[in-house]
């Protein structure tokens, strides 16, 4: 009887120690799980309670429902920048802050006489960066061969706002370049699934209706002059080229290189669906040349589609 009682006591003590072991193991397991969980949270998640750049610069200052309308006399945001004679040089890497434009094709640059066109900066900016910076990323994914159409995209281009997906030739049309530049920057009003945006003539009409948050600036020498003086930054705006057939070809306004105070210089735009990903237009006395009255194929710059 005593032996049985002793054995039962041993069994109970064994069970007690087993239970204690389970509890200790469980607590240890919980600690490990919590530790791993916390370590996998990235920096943004760990500081979610702190104001982000987006909140600080966009959410509280530019509510979509109350887009500020441009005043009749907008203040100057930057002083006029007269660069003087246009810079030239040789080949540059894709990461350089200029494009090297060869005599006949933008990818050659086999001597020191090719024009160096600065990559536009600033301008229209969304939650995922400026429109022009997304255009520069897209240009790097266009075909880089010496001659040929720039109408495919590989690899795909991404931002924190999404990804374009790759495109084979000839499917990466000029309007897709424009739409992707805006979508990647964080503006989703334009869509590649909307026929009215895919056809550039319809996209131009859409812009001319001045939809909320957007505005159309008809072409005039004054528009270039106001851009140069900082009254109306065109960087990242869509530059619409009217073709003689009634069709339209768009690109993204890159930069105006002003050579002198008389309004002479060169306007450049980035594009797909063309032989050159960067086209330049002569500006003489603030007027874009070789377009409206001076061409049969190109009937003129229609204007600039911008974001307010």
């Amino acid at each position: 009887m005593d032996k049985n009682k002793y054995q039962r006591k041993l069994t109970i003590e064994l069970l007690y120690h087993l239970a204690l072991g389970i509890v200790v193991t469980g607590v240890g397991l919980m600690t490990v799980v919590l530790g791993v969980t916390l370590s996998t949270l990235n920096a943004s998640a760990q500081t979610w309670f702190e104001p982000t750049q987006k909140q600080g610069t966009f959410d509280f200052t530019q509510a979509p429902t109350s887009v500020p309308k441009p005043s009749s006399a907008p203040k100057v945001t930057k002083p006029p920048q007269i660069t003087g004679p246009l810079p030239t040089g040789g080949a540059v890497p894709p990461t350089a802050d200029v494009y090297c434009i060869d005599d006949e094709d933008p990818d050659g640059c086999d001597d020191q006489t090719a024009f160096h066109v600065p990559k536009g900066v600033g301008g229209i900016s969304g939650t995922c960066g400026t429109v022009i910076s997304q255009s520069h990323k897209l240009v790097n994914s266009l075909p880089q061969f010496l001659k040929g159409m720039r109408d495919s995209l590989n690899p795909a281009v991404s931002s924190n706002c999404g990804s374009t997906g790759p495109y084979s030739s000839p499917n990466y049309i000029s309007t897709f370049f424009v739409i992707d530049s805006y979508n990647l920057a964080g503006y989703n009003e334009l869509s590649k699934n909307n026929a009215s945006h895919v056809n550039a003539a319809d996209m131009l009409n859409w812009w001319k209706t001045n939809p909320p948050g957007y505005k159309f600036i008809p072409y005039s020498p004054t528009a270039i002059q106001q851009h140069a003086s900082g009254q109306q930054d065109l960087t990242g705006c869509v530059m619409f080229i009217n073709l003689g057939s009634g069709r339209v070809h768009p690109g993204i306004f890159n930069i105006y290189q002003q050579v002198n105070s008389n309004g002479d210089g060169v306007v450049s735009m980035l594009q797909s669906g063309a032989r050159y990903f960067l086209d330049r237009f002569i500006v003489a006395g603030w007027a874009i040349q070789n377009t409206p009255q001076h061409q049969t194929v190109i009937s003129g710059v229609a204007g600039f589609g911008c974001k307010q």
Binding site: I12, W48, V259, N262
Partner: protein
């Protein structure tokens, strides 16, 4: 400790162990939920969204099943782009040096007018500067630096005070 065996007799031990296991499960469930909630909190700040699949076009999720209207619009825009590209090519074919222009300096700006097919020289001579000498410099640079057969073209000079 002496009374422990008596204390743990019967169903008490099973109850305590069971309660501890249940408590452990509850704590683990709570931990999992907290983790999910923290992820949902950061999702709206797009900066911490997981990197999108680069091969997925989220701006055009029906890329392979476009509507007939979109397909028609794409077809039309391909034609428009081709028209523009042909214009680029024809300029390059007719004037292989066109992309070497404009010719710029502090006191002149020279370009080629594609419609008139003449060179436009906008001169800004300094006080006392000889205009003919300036024109000569322009012609020389176009020939030597840009390798343009200037003798085949006319020039329109615009002298600005």
């Amino acid at each position: 400790m002496e009374n422990l065996p008596e204390f743990l007799k019967g169903k008490r031990l099973a109850l305590i162990v069971g309660a501890l296991i249940v408590l452990l499960i509850v704590l683990m469930v709570f931990s999992t939920r907290s983790n999910n909630q923290s992820q949902s909190v950061v999702q709206p700040t797009q900066a911490v969204q997981p990197a999108p699949d680069e091969n997925t076009d989220i701006f055009n999720d029906s890329q392979n099943a476009q509507s007939p209207e979109v397909q028609q619009a794409i077809s039309e825009q391909i034609q428009a782009d081709q028209e523009y590209a042909d214009w680029q090519q024809s300029n390059s074919d007719a004037y292989s040096w066109i992309r070497k222009l404009p010719l710029t300096a502090v006191n002149y700006f020279v370009y080629f007018d594609l419609e008139k097919k003449v060179f436009i020289g906008r001169l800004y001579p300094k006080t006392g500067e000889n205009v003919d000498q300036l024109k000569s410099e322009v012609l020389n640079r176009l020939k030597t630096e840009k390798e343009i057969p200037v003798e085949n073209f006319q020039f329109e000079w615009m002298v600005n005070p």
